[in-house]
Each structure stands twice: as C-alpha cells, then as structure tokens.
Amino acid sequence: MFMEQLSNGIALGSIYALTAIGFTMVYGIIRLINFAHGDIYMIGAFLTLTGITLLNMHLVMAFLFGMAGAALFGILIAKLAYSPIFKAPRINIFLSAIGTAIFLENFAMLIWGPETQAFPDVIQNNVYTFLGFRASTLQLVILGTTILLVTVLTYVVQYTKIGRAMRCTSQDMDAARLMGINTNRVVYITFALGSSLGAAAGALVGMYYKAVFPMMGFVPGLKAFIAAVIGGIGSIPGAMLGGIIMGVSESLGAAYISSGYRDAIAFIILIAIILIKPSGLLGKAVKEKV
C-alpha cells in the first residue's frame, strides 16, 4: 500500500506545485502575497470550461483561451486593485488582495452560478503501473506541465532581458526605475504571467477532478501559499519541491495517522520547516533593509 499512497501523494503534490508556481513568482518579483491567486485559478478553470462547452473550442485552444483570459484578469486586477496603493504599506495591498479574492468568488457565482459544474471528459484517462507506482494520464500531464513550466520560468527569470528587469525590480523598484527600467510594465507582465500560470493550474485541476465551482480556488490558494513558503517563497523550483512535500505528507499522513488530520499535518510540516529554516528550503535569506 505504501507505493500506492506515495504515488497518490506525488499526484496531489504536483497539483499543489502547479498552483504554487504562479503564486511564488508574483511574490518573488513584487513582494506581494497575492491572495487572489486561488481565484484567478478558478477563473482560468471556468474560462477554459466555457471555451470547451460554449464556444466549442479544441482542448488546447480552450486551455490557451483560459490562460489568456486569466492574464487579462491579472492585468486588470493589478491596474484597479494594486497599482493605486502600490506605494502604501504592504499590508494595504495584502488586504486589497483578499478583497479581490472575495470579489472574484462572487463574480464567478453571478456569471456561472454557484453550483459545481462538470468538466467534460476531454482526455482519455488511462492508468499506468510501474514498480508499484500508479499514475493516470492526467496525473502525468499535470506533473509534466509542472516540470515544463518550472523550467521555462526559471529560464525566463534567469536568462532573458525581461527576466533581468524583473529581478532588478524585485531588488529595488526605485533604483530599477532610475536605471531606465519601465517598472510598471514589469509589474503588469509579472501579473499577466502569474495569472496565466494560475489559470493553467486551475484548468488542469478542473479536468483532473472533473469539477469546476466558484469556491474551488480558496483552499488551493492557501495550500499554494504553504507550498511556496515551505520551498522558500519567491523560489520557483522551491515551489515545486514544497508542493511535492506537502502532497506526499498529506497522503502518507492520511494513510498512516488519520484521514481527519491530513490538513493539520501539512500545517505542522510548515511550522517545523519555518522553525528550522525560516526562509524555506530553497529560499535565500534576505536581510531586511532598515
């Protein structure tokens, strides 16, 4: 049973990881804990679903439609909810993010209705077994997408011009602006990118569980936050590591301790890791400027 539970955990963990990537990226660049990320994830899932059912799009087209739509949402949110208070203390933006989250949830309820909607069977879901590991097609797609996105994003942030601009902005926004970087543009691009990643996660998870509903982003948003913090918030490979650790510990905890405590186990691990390594597993300790 151990191997089966381990594969359950890795499957769940890759979902957490996928959600956490966009979240941790936005934090890494703008130092904003984007609590609306879970709801962008939900919007992405709904847009993809609408693309498939209402607009009769091909799966890949609908997926890209969801990502593009969510990117647009991300830019709008940055413009309307974050940029007016960008210079205010961080806590204000944080509260604004939570307000945005509540708005998005209720917005989705108005547009798509409160009930859970079924995602049509779009992918032939076969089950593969290998050395006691068991994985379905969609689980492999999710894991593959996560690894792909982590690689691409790391490349973008580390080796491209816009990536360098992002890192400069994250270090010191004013100095970056003095050096001729259009920081506003960087912020919007970061949000667009982060939101489309969230949408990709939402759409895949929607397909995986075949269920899309307005509150679907709330718990994953929190879990993504924990995964990001465990891995070292701001670190993209860290988000992946954190997600997998959480997924596996939840599955094994539910299997060998008690299914009632699975969320508690995730939080206990968070506390333990933060006590030992406050900046997270792969996070860099940054000195606070006085």
């Binding site: 049973m1 089966e4 539970q5 359950n8 955990g9 499957a11 769940l12 979902i15 804990i33 961080r90 806590i91 944080f94 939570i98 989250a101 509540i102 949830e105 209720n106 309820m109 209705g113 409160p114 009930e115 859970t116 909607q117 079924a118 069977d121 879901n125 089950v127 068991r134 379905s136 998870v205 569980y209 075949k210 269920a211 509903f213 307005p214 509150m215 679907m216 709330f218 718990v219 929190l222 936050f225 913090v229 939840e250 599955s251 094994l252 539910a254 299997a255 299914s259 009632g260 699975r262 969320d263 933060i274 406050p278 900046s279 300790a285 940054v286 606070e288």
Partner: protein, 380 residues
C-alpha cells in the same frame, strides 16, 4: 522578514474564518406585505443547495401571489445567507429573528448551521422549518424548530437494514464528511449495521470543501476489501469519490444518503455513479397530490429538475403559507398550526409533525442509464 511572515500568517488564519461571510437582510417595512424568510447558504461551498431551495420557495410564494396573496396581502421572501458556515448562521438568525415583520423561517440547510442558530430562533419565538438531518436539532430543547426531513438516525437505520437485509451486504466501509451531518449518519449506521450482524471494516473521513482528493482514504478502504461502501456525504464529493474509486479499480457497491439525491450527482459523476444506491425523500415518479404539477411548474420556471431539497422547501413554504392563511399573521399561531397539522398534502408525501419531527419513509433510488430511478426492491 520573519516578523512580517508572522503577521501575514496570523492574518490568514483570521481571514480563513471570515472569508466569504456576508449576509443580506434588508427588511421590508411594508404592512401590506407578509414576509417569510429563507436562511440558507447562498454563497460559499454549499451555495447550490440554498439556491435551489430559494427557487422552490419562490415558486410556492408566486403561486399564492398570482391568486391575489393572502387576504389581499402579497407574500415576500426575504433571503438570508448563512454561507454554509456555522459561525455565520447565528448572525443571520439574529438579524432575521429581530425583524418583527418576518413570520417564519425556512432553513438552515447545513446541520451545523441549524444547530448553531436554533437557540436564537427559539428564544425569539419564531417558527422554523428545517431540512437538516442531525438528530440533536429536535431534542426537545427548541420547540420552535420543526424538521421536514428524517433524522439521521432514522435514515441510517433504514439504510443499514436495507444494506444488510435486501442487499445482503456483510462487510461495509464508511467514508464520511466530517461535519454534524456525516458524523451523525456514520455513527448510527455503524451501530445498526454491527447490531444486525454486519462488520464495519474501515471508517475514513474528509472535510467538506477542503479536499477534492480522496485517493489516500480509498486506497486504505480498498486494502480492506469491503462489499459495500457507505458514503454519508453530499453529491459533489460523492461524485468525486465514485470517480476516483473507479480510477483506482475499487469495484464496490456504493450506498449514499439524501445528501446526494440530485441530478447534479449524475452531471458530475457520469459513468462512475452508475448503480450507486441512495436514500431520497422525493422522486417525480413517486407521486403524491400535486407532485406532477410541482415538477412541471419547477421545470418551466427554472429549466431544471427539482430535487429532494427543492421538494421539501416547496412543501415547507406551502405549509407556512397555509398556516398564515388559516391562523393569521402571528408567529405563535403559526407554531400552533405546525404542531397540530395532520397529513398536510405535500409533494414529497403527507406531512404531520410529532415532537417536531416529521414521520415519513425513505425511497431507495439508484442511477440507471444516467437517470435517477427508484429501485425495484424498496426498504421496509
């Protein structure tokens, strides 16, 4: 940096409890109106249940209003929102009970919410009809709260007897939702099934709305090789459980409660819920006086099939309207009417209350060819 995280983290834990809490309670101070209220989840995880209940109540009210209302007064439905959260339910209850215009309440849907709010209604002396199933709701301490569905105990006993007797199952596993609804049913089913001579080989839980992944629980259950999986949960989770069980090759007869008695189960579960059996209090094919007309009217107005909750909410609303028509606009008189009503012709069967509980049987339903149908061999 460390300090900042701490602040954020505290805020998150606070906000998790507050998130999504809101309610609408604008009172109509118009004396030419009769107001009854709904206190059900309109936002949050169980919003779809509140939605269909309010639709059914509105249908009952519209039917009376079209005929000119009661004594020339039109009826208005005031909709409160408990968000499905037992912490929010008392606030809604407080607001509704304090409004003197509101004569009676229909709700709450979640057992946990009804349990949290019932004391408030009772001390305000406002009659309530609920469809929550937890047995503690009608323990005699709140005489103003009436229940139109069966208690979890009665339902669990019916189901345990059905599973052991008619279905011939001996080794049951239970996967329940960790709230007052699921825990109550789990305990009673467990007790009755064991008493009959069956064996409960695995008991696993999950938290409503917290997780969509049931693979660790199902893997454990599969290792015990049961011949029945009893799932006291709601349809969203049950559909997911059925799909995930199928994906991992757990072929076992599943048995659910009234919590999954909805067309949505099939929409979400597809092939995986085929053959699942569950209890219901209402089915369009099990006809009582007015059932056909209700189903027709509901479909015409909202373009969807009414489920158990819709039928019970419709009956609750009609019961209250009848009480108001007969006894006048007085909370005390309405309560008296509910206590003494005898075989009120509801679309889900006749309603009379005894010790605040309705007396009714259950219908065993199943999914066959993508449709909910009553099974041939019913419970005794």
């Amino acid at each position: 940096m460390k300090k900042k995280y701490l602040v954020y983290f505290l805020l998150i834990s606070m906000l998790t409890t507050l998130m999504g809490c809101s309610s609408t309670a604008v009172s109509g101070k118009n004396a030419s109106e009769i107001v009854i209220a709904s206190a059900n989840p309109m936002t949050g995880d169980s919003a779809q249940f509140g939605d269909i209940k309010v639709k059914a109540m509105q249908l009952a009210i519209d039917e009376v209003n079209e005929k000119g209302g009661i004594n020339g007064k039109l009826i208005k439905l005031q909709v409160g929102d408990d968000t499905g959260n037992p912490k929010e339910a008392p606030n809604v209850a407080q607001k509704l009970a304090a409004d003197k215009n509101i004569l009676a309440i229909i709700g709450h849907w979640n057992s946990s919410c009804t349990l949290a709010a019932r004391g408030i209604y009772d001390s305000a002396g406002i009659p309530v009809i609920t469809d929550s199933v937890n047995k503690a709701i009608t323990d005699g301490t709140t005489p103003h709260v009436f229940r139109i569905s069966l208690t979890d105990t009665a339902q669990a006993h019916y189901l345990a007897k059905y599973a052991y007797g008619q279905m011939g199952k001996r080794k049951a596993a239970i996967l329940y939702t960790g709230n007052d609804f699921g825990t109550g049913l789990k305990n009673d089913f467990n007790a009755k099934f064991t008493e009959l001579g069956g064996q409960v080989v695995a008991v696993e839980t999950f938290f409503e709305g917290q997780s969509k992944d049931f693979s660790p629980q199902l893997t454990k259950i599969k290792a015990q090789n049961p011949d029945l999986l009893f799932i006291p949960a709601y349809y969203v989770e049950t559909a997911l459980i059925a799909q995930q069980a199928k994906a991992m090759g757990l072929e076992v007869q599943m048995l659910g409660t009234d919590g999954i008695s909805s067309e949505e189960l099939i929409k979400l579960g597809g092939q995986a819920v085929e053959g699942i059996r569950f209890a219901g209090f209402f089915h369009p094919d099990i006809e009582f006086l007015g059932t056909k007309e209700f189903v027709e009217a509901f479909k015409t107005k909202y373009n969807k099939e009414p489920d158990t909750y819709a039928a019970l909410a419709y009956d609750s609303a009609r019961l209250l309207l009848k009480a108001i028509a007969e006894k006048g606009t007085d909370r005390k008189q309405i309560k008296k009417y509910l206590e003494t009503v005898k075989d009120f012709p509801g679309v889900a069967g006749p309603v009379s209350f005894k010790n605040n509980d309705v007396e009714r049987g259950i219908i065993i339903l199943t999914v066959k060819g993508g449709k909910i149908v009553p099974v041939d061999i019913q419970a005794e």
